[in-house]
Structures are given as structure tokens and as C-alpha cells.
């Protein structure tokens, strides 16, 4: 019976054309508004590294001043000092660990026809690439020895490598960074997770791929400029050495544990560490160390803005309005078919039959609305994406949202169809037949 009712539903689309078109359009507009705003929210708040996001952990140690601070207040900054980062690197905790900071420096291409320009990259340790599943196109990451002595080696992003060397494999070639020659150790394939969850503080959260990666120790040795936020709660000595010795926080730290259960072990180690440091006169606030996994970290830093949530809420409010409107239209459409129902009932159709027939018919309207809504969503997303490349990267529909469009549309139509269908079932065959 389903197939037959479905065909009937399709045919019924052609009846009362204006009314049906209005219904489909109303549903489509409501669904498009909801889906396009939801797509952006979905892209922003999705798990950027599924399967690993509970094993990648950010430690936070609050080293703020006690003066003017009340227990329970939020920390001044969630980044880390150089001294803590160095200690944590040496800790041996977790399976892998990396510190990193954003940096921007002059890059002189090997080609003489290309002028020097400013390039933005990251200064992590070699573990970074394995921790965040960074794919390599050529070569590989630098060695542990390179990390230890701060060697002048660089891993390029694919776009940057192609800009500098074309399609050739640049491993072993040299470029000049900060007036110093660096040897290319590898090239990272296209890798640009958005949000850039590995560097969320003071960074271009939805920005493009990194131009390059150099060893953290090398960046420190060359006193590389810091591209990001820094918070200093106490006075520091001038110069780079002063910064490294200070209580200023400006580094991002990540641990990777073997299993998500190892988190408690890490927590315990951090508590011991802060306890030891407290004896040396640091961490006066006496706040326990905190550990965040990837999703908790994105939540803590409020990556999904209130404006995005507002858009989604209002869009769903709008969908509710479209739903109410559709109920009215369906009532009107079904009310003129009372005589048809009367005849069917008199010929032996049960109320359940009538109910399923009309509900399937509304389902067909929902499908049509979903189809049009999908087209409208693509249009809306294209419009939204015109703002900037960052937004365009967010405003992309995936299979999940595509399916969601139809589910939402059909569900909305069925919900709207419940009342009119129920009313249609109430038709008494005798009265209908008599009045004809």
C-alpha cells in the first residue's frame, strides 16, 4: 500500500497547485534557514580529530598573582610559561608531547625573482606531526637530535612548498628564514583543520594552513617573533632572555596519552609538579592543575560564538513559524477532499488507511520541500561564504547535513500533517454521501 499511497501523494501535488506550491515553498524556506545556520555551527563545533580527541590533552597551570584575585575566579590566561613548557617536555609523561607557538618571520625564497615576504608558521617539537595526524607529502619530520640542539631545519606546508619550489621535491634544499639558512626536511600535504584546534589562543582560529614548521628549540635560539597573545602578571626583564625567565604565559602545550584512561595519571603528575614548584615559591594561587581534552578545550575557549548559536535558534524559530503556516495550508487542502474520504470510507477503508494515506501525502510534500530546501541551503551557504575565505570554509555542506536536510523537512511536514490528517479521519461517511 505504501507505494500506491506514495504515487497518490505525488499526483496530489498537482492538485490545488497554488496551495501546494505555497506549502512546499514555506517548508523549503524554513528548512533552508535552519540547515544553513546549522551547517556552520556543525562545522565549528564538530570533533576535529575523532578517535583521538580524548587522548590529546592540554594541561593548564595557573601561575597568576594572588593580589586582587579571589578563589574561584577565572585564570588570567590559559597559556604556559617557557620554564613550565621545558619542564613538561622533559617530564616523559604521556606517549608524545609538544609545546608550540605561532611565529611570523621574513622568508627569502631561493629563487631570485621572488622578493622576500613575511611567512607565518608554528614552532613545535617533532611529536607534533604524529600527534595531530599531519600527513606528509615529501620527506618527514625532523629528528630528536634536531629538537635537542635546535637545528635549522624546516617542514613546509604544501602550498608554501609549491610557491617556492613548484612541483619539485624540495627536501634537502635551503630557504632563508630570519636571515639564516634552513634546510627543508619535509613537506606537509594539504592540512588545514578548521577550527585550528591545535593553536586556539591568540591565533587565526579559522585561518589558512601554516606556511612552515620549525623546531621549537631552533625558534627560541633565533629569538623568533611571537605571533599570538602573551600575558604577563609580573614585571619582566627586557629582551628575549628576560621573557624566557619570566612568568609570562605565551605557549601552548599538548600531551598525547596512550589511552584516555591515562588522563588521571597525567593529572596526578601535574599535581605533583605544581606542588614541587610551589615549594620554590611559584603557583601562589594554589589552584590545582587542570587538564582538558580537545572538545573540552574548544568549549573552554568558546570557539562557537554566541552569534552562531543565536542564528541557529532564530532560524529554528522561523522553521516553527513555517510549520504552523503549513498546518493551516494542509487543513485547507484536506478540507476540500471530505467527499473523497467519505466515498473511500463507505467502500470499506478503515480510519487507519485514511490516516496513512494522508500522512504519506504530507511526507511527499515534505520530500519536495526538502529538495527545494536543499537547493536554497546551497544558495544561502554560497551567500554566507562570500564574506571571506574563512567563513567559506565553514559554510560547506557534508553528507551528514545533506541527510539532515531531508530528515528535517520530512519530519517537519509529518508534524505539520498530524492535525490535518487526524481531522480528515473524522469525516463521517454517511453525512458526506448524503450531501452529494
Amino acid at each position: 500500500m505504501f507505494g500506491y499511497y506514495f504515487t497518490l501523494g505525488l499526483r496530489s501535488l498537482r492538485r490545488n497547485r497554488a496551495l501546494t506550491a505555497l506549502m512546499v515553498l514555506t517548508l523549503a524556506v524554513g528548512v533552508a534557514a535552519s540547515i544553513s545556520t546549522l551547517t556552520i555551527l556543525h562545522a565549528m563545533s564538530g570533533d576535529p580529530i575523532p578517535g583521538k580527541s580524548t587522548r590529546l590533552l592540554v594541561p593548564h597551570l595557573d601561575n597568576g598573582q594572588v593580589d586582587g584575585w579571589a578563589p574561584g575566579e577565572k585564570p588570567d590566561d590559559v597559556q604556559m610559561t617557557y620554564q613550565d613548557a621545558v619542564n613538561l617536555l622533559k617530564s616523559g609523561q604521556g606517549e608524545r608531547r609538544t609545546v608550540l607557538f605561532g611565529t611570523e618571520m621574513p622568508l627569502e625564497p631561493p629563487r631570485k625573482d621572488m622578493p622576500a615576504f613575511s611567512a607565518a608558521g608554528m614552532a613545535p617539537t617533532r611529536d607534533f606531526f604524529a600527534m595531530f595526524d599531519v600527513p606528509f607529502l615529501h620527506g618527514q619530520t625532523w629528528s630528536e637530535a634536531d629538537d635537542a640542539r635546535g637545528a635549522d631545519v624546516v617542514v613546509l606546508g604544501r602550498a608554501m612548498a609549491e610557491k617556492l619550489f613548484g612541483d619539485a621535491n624540495p627536501v634537502g634544499r635551503q630557504i632563508r628564514l630570519m636571515n639564516v639558512p634552513f634546510t627543508v626536511a619535509g613537506v606537509v600535504d594539504y592540512w588545514n583543520p578548521r577550527p585550528r584546534y591545535y593553536k586556539l589562543v591568540g591565533g587565526d582560529t579559522f585561518g589558512g594552513a601554516d606556511d612552515f614548521y620549525i623546531p621549537f628549540a631552533s625558534a627560541i635560539r633565533h629569538e623568533a617573533g611571537i605571533n599570538g597573545g602573551m600575558s604577563c602578571s609580573t614585571k619582566r626583564e627586557p629582551g628575549y632572555a628576560g621573557l624566557l625567565a619570566s612568568e609570562c604565559t605565551w605557549l601552548q602545550f599538548w600531551f598525547e596519552t596512550r589511552s584516555s584512561g591515562d588522563r588521571a595519571e597525567l593529572q596526578a603528575w601535574l599535581d605533583r609538579y605544581t606542588g614541587e614548584q610551589r615549594k620554590l615559591g611559584r603557583f601562589k594561587r594554589n589552584v590545582p592543575a587542570r587538564v582538558y581534552d580537545v572538545m573540552e578545550w574548544m568549549d573552554e575557549l568558546k570557539i562557537v560564538g554566541n552569534d552562531n548559536k543565536l542564528s541557529v535558534w532564530l532560524a529554528f524559530g522561523f522553521l516553527a513559524l513555517c510549520l504552523v503556516n503549513t498546518i493551516g495550508l494542509l487543513l485547507a487542502k484536506f478540507s476540500v477532499r471530505a467527499s473523497e474520504i467519505g466515498v473511500r470510507r463507505a467502500l470499506g477503508a478503515s480510519r487507519r488507511e485514511i490516516f496513512s494515506q494522508f500522512l504519506i501525502e504530507t511526507g511527499v510534500i515534505g520530500l519536495a520541500g526538502g529538495l527545494l530546501g536543499l537547493a536554497l541551503s546551497f544558495g544561502a551557504l554560497a551567500l554566507i561564504g562570500m564574506q571571506s575565505t574563512e567563513v567559506a570554509a565553514m559554510a560547506r555542506m557534508d553528507w551528514e547535513m545533506l541527510g539532515m536536510t531531508f530528515v528535517l523537512s520530512v519530519a517537519a511536514a509529518l508534524l505539520a500533517g498530524l492535525l490535518p490528517t487526524w481531522r480528515a479521519c473524522q469525516v463521517t461517511p454517511a453525512i458526506q454521501l448524503k450531501s452529494q
Binding site: P106, A116, G239, L310, V324, N325, L331
Partner: protein, 410 residues
């Protein structure tokens, strides 16, 4: 009046009227909140940055790939500044540490006493040994700009001592010293017995911070007559003569490139670009809300017209009978209009309540501001008006039904 019969007719067939009222209520609730948010964002975007002529102002981030010492670099920067001043069409040039709205710069905490534990405020720091007041075109509301002898250049490797004089914005002055003149007052950076204070010599009307936060903090800025040197990077703010910015930008770039024997990295940006980037999200939200609001009005109108038309068709015979019994056209018209106003009123009252509830939700969950009553009142008025206009067409159609044809099939 005929309210009683209309009401009892409505109550006999409730579904349609309830649906219309629900649509009105939903639209009103969302529309009032959306309009308020749009107006709020418009006000945020319209705030002055303090720069008098933003269209004519741009800045250059320059980096020289040299190996010079700090003193040599200082001399280069001064030379470059003078070269820029000589470019035709340039009105003013200043070497600066940061720009408003540019989303990059430094903040400092301020105290009013050396022994004070909790900072009084956090302010954005504009450092320049040239006149930012002149180049940005800041409006001094009290006091004066820095004197030439007060302007200093200091090696960044040397200990950072704040300059003895300082200029603050009026919002910051009012926050620190409410109700009294800020001129001659002293502020300190950090709490320590040894810190030296800076005396306020001038107050400017506006100078937004680098991030232009939406609360009062977006206006808390200080200007110091001090430039730190030693790094190979610097920044020049340039105000061109009106209408000449684009040409001046190109010429300034080529002048700087020609002046340097070593390679240079130059990044040019206009304040217009920064403003656009800073407020992109706010503008996008406004567009989204306006689009949804307009669609909502359209759909609600359609809903009212559709329902009213349906009722008119359903009641053809009843209208015919009434007309045959002596009702005038105006009576029929009035009947339908009054009926619609009653339905819309129900929706409007529900909408006001729903709007308040929605706003409460936005306040508690999304840190939005409380909705002023005026928006709900305005929305209510709008929907009453829409109700009457939308119902007028079908009502007129009903009134035009001739009693003879309508009663014929009875």
C-alpha cells in the same frame, strides 16, 4: 457591538484562528528580538574609532632584512618617516606601535596608587614619538598634545620606564576619575614601591583599542610619547589628502622599497579594510536577521490572507443570507475586519509574552541585552496594522458577494 456573535462564531471553529494567532505570536516574538539585535549591532559598528578620516588613513608594516644595530635602525626609521612625509598627497605620518581595529597590539593594566593591589583598569597602549593626535586626527577635549621635548625614543633592550606624560581617552578618564578633570592626575603601571607614575596632560574624545571590544573597554586607550626601537620591524600610520589614499599607498610603497639597500617586507593596509574585517561577523548577523525577519513577515501575511480567504469561501451562503436580510456591504466588511483584529490581538498578546520569554532565554544563555519594551509595543502595532491590511482584501471580496447568487444554491 457585534463582538459577542463574532466571538462565539470563532469559538465554534477554533483551529484556524488559533493557527493564525500562533503565527502572529511567533513572528512578533522573533521580530522584536531580531530588530533589537540588529539595532544594537548597527550601533556597535557605527562607533567612531577616533581616527578622523578613516577612508584616507592607512598603515605600513615594514621589516628590513638587515643586520643593523639598534641605533642604525632608529636612524633608518626616522629617514623612512621623512621620506613618507615627502610623498605628494601625504597629510601626516607617524611611526606607531599599533592601530585601532587592527586586532593586534598591547594592553597594560593601570593603577592609581603604587600600593594598589587590584588594577583600576586595563588599557590599550599606543606608543609613538610622533604625534598620533595629529596623524589620526584625534579630538582633544581637554589639555594638550605632547610637546616636542617630551617625545622620546628608547632602546628596547634598556629597562622599560613609562614616560612622565601621558594622554588618555575620555571614557578611561571618566572611569578612573569620575566627575573630575583628569588633567594633572597620575597613573601607575603595576603595583610596586619603585614604579614611577605618568601625569595626564591631555584627554582625547575617542581612540578605540586594537580589538574595539563592544563594552566600555573598547574605548580604554592611552597614548605614550615614547617609541621603543631595536627590532627590525616598525609601523607607520599615514593620513593622505582626502581621495588620494590609493595612489599614496602605491607611491609610499615604492619610495620605501627604493630607499633600502637590503630587501624589505612591506604590508600595506587601510583602516577601511581593518574596519570591514573587525565587523564582518556583526554585519553578517544583521543581514541574516533582516532576511529572516522579512521572510517571516511575508509568510505571516500570506497566512492571514490565506485563512481569511478560506473563511470567506466557507461562509458564502451565510454572507448571502445576511445580505438578503438587510446587512449592508460595510457590515460584512466590518465583521471580517473585526474578526481578524480579534485573532491578531490574541496573537499579539501571546507574542509579547513569547518575546519576553525568548529574550529571557537569550539573556541567560547567550549574554544578550534585555529587550526594551518599545520594541514589543512597536511590533504589536505593526502586527495589528498588518492584520487589518491583510484581512481587507478577502473581507472586501466577501462584502462584494451578491445576495442573489450566494443564496441561489440554498
Amino acid at each position: 457591538m457585534e463582538i459577542r456573535p463574532i466571538l462565539s462564531a470563532l469559538l465554534r471553529n477554533k483551529t484556524g484562528p488559533i493557527l493564525v494567532a500562533l503565527q502572529v505570536a511567533l513572528s512578533l516574538a522573533i521580530l522584536a528580538n531580531a530588530t533589537y539585535i540588529v539595532n544594537e549591532r548597527r550601533a556597535v559598528v557605527a562607533r567612531p574609532s577616533g581616527i578622523a578620516d578613516e577612508h584616507a588613513t592607512f598603515y605600513i608594516q615594514a621589516r628590513n632584512l638587515d643586520n643593523d644595530g639598534p641605533e642604525q635602525r632608529l636612524a633608518t626609521f626616522k629617514h623612512e618617516r621623512d621620506l613618507l612625509r615627502a610623498v605628494p598627497g601625504v597629510a601626516s605620518v607617524a611611526q606607531v606601535s599599533q592601530m585601532p581595529l587592527s586586532n593586534s597590539g598591547w594592553n597594560t593594566s593601570i593603577t592609581l596608587d603604587q600600593r594598589q593591589e587590584r588594577p583600576s583598569a586595563s588599557a590599550s597602549m599606543y606608543l609613538s614619538s610622533d604625534s598620533i593626535v595629529q596623524t589620526f586626527g584625534l579630538r582633544l577635549v581637554e589639555g594638550r598634545d605632547f610637546l616636542p621635548e617630551e617625545r622620546l625614543d628608547a632602546n628596547e633592550k634598556a629597562e622599560a620606564r613609562p614616560p612622565p606624560q601621558i594622554i588618555v581617552t575620555r571614557p578611561l578618564a571618566e572611569k578612573l576619575w569620575p566627575g573630575v578633570s583628569a588633567i594633572g592626575k597620575t597613573i601607575y603601571f603595576g603595583s610596586n614601591e619603585n614604579v614611577t607614575g605618568s601625569r595626564v596632560v591631555g584627554v582625547v574624545e575617542h581612540l578605540q583599542t586594537q580589538s574595539a571590544q563592544i563594552d566600555e573597554k573598547g574605548e580604554f586607550s592611552i597614548v605614550m610619547p615614547l617609541q621603543r626601537y631595536g627590532d627590525s620591524r616598525t609601523m607607520f600610520a599615514v593620513r593622505a589628502e582626502p581621495g588620494q589614499r590609493d595612489r599614496v599607498m602605491k607611491e609610499a610603497e615604492s619610495v620605501l622599497r627604493k630607499s633600502s639597500p637590503t630587501p624589505m617586507i612591506l604590508e600595506m593596509r587601510s583602516v577601511d579594510q581593518d574596519r570591514k574585517d573587525r565587523y564582518r561577523g556583526d554585519v553578517a548577523l544583521q543581514w541574516m536577521l533582516v532576511t529572516v525577519s522579512l521572510l517571516m513577515l511575508l509568510i505571516t501575511c500570506c497566512g492571514i490572507v490565506g485563512m481569511a480567504s478560506l473563511w470567506v469561501t466557507q461562509r458564502r451562503k451565510q454572507i448571502g443570507v445576511r445580505r438578503a436580510l438587510g446587512a449592508r456591504k460595510i457590515d460584512i466588511l466590518r465583521y471580517f475586519i473585526v474578526e481578524n483584529v480579534m485573532i491578531t490581538s490574541g496573537g499579539v498578546f501571546g507574542g509579547v509574552a513569547l518575546g519576553l520569554a525568548l529574550n529571557q532565554l537569550l539573556v541567560s544563555k547567550l549574554e544578550m541585552a534585555r529587550l526594551p519594551a518599545g520594541y514589543l509595543a512597536g511590533g504589536a502595532l505593526l502586527f495589528w496594522l498588518i492584520g487589518v491590511i491583510a484581512a481587507y482584501g478577502p473581507a472586501w471580496k466577501a462584502a462584494s458577494i451578491s445576495p442573489a447568487t450566494a443564496t441561489r444554491s440554498v
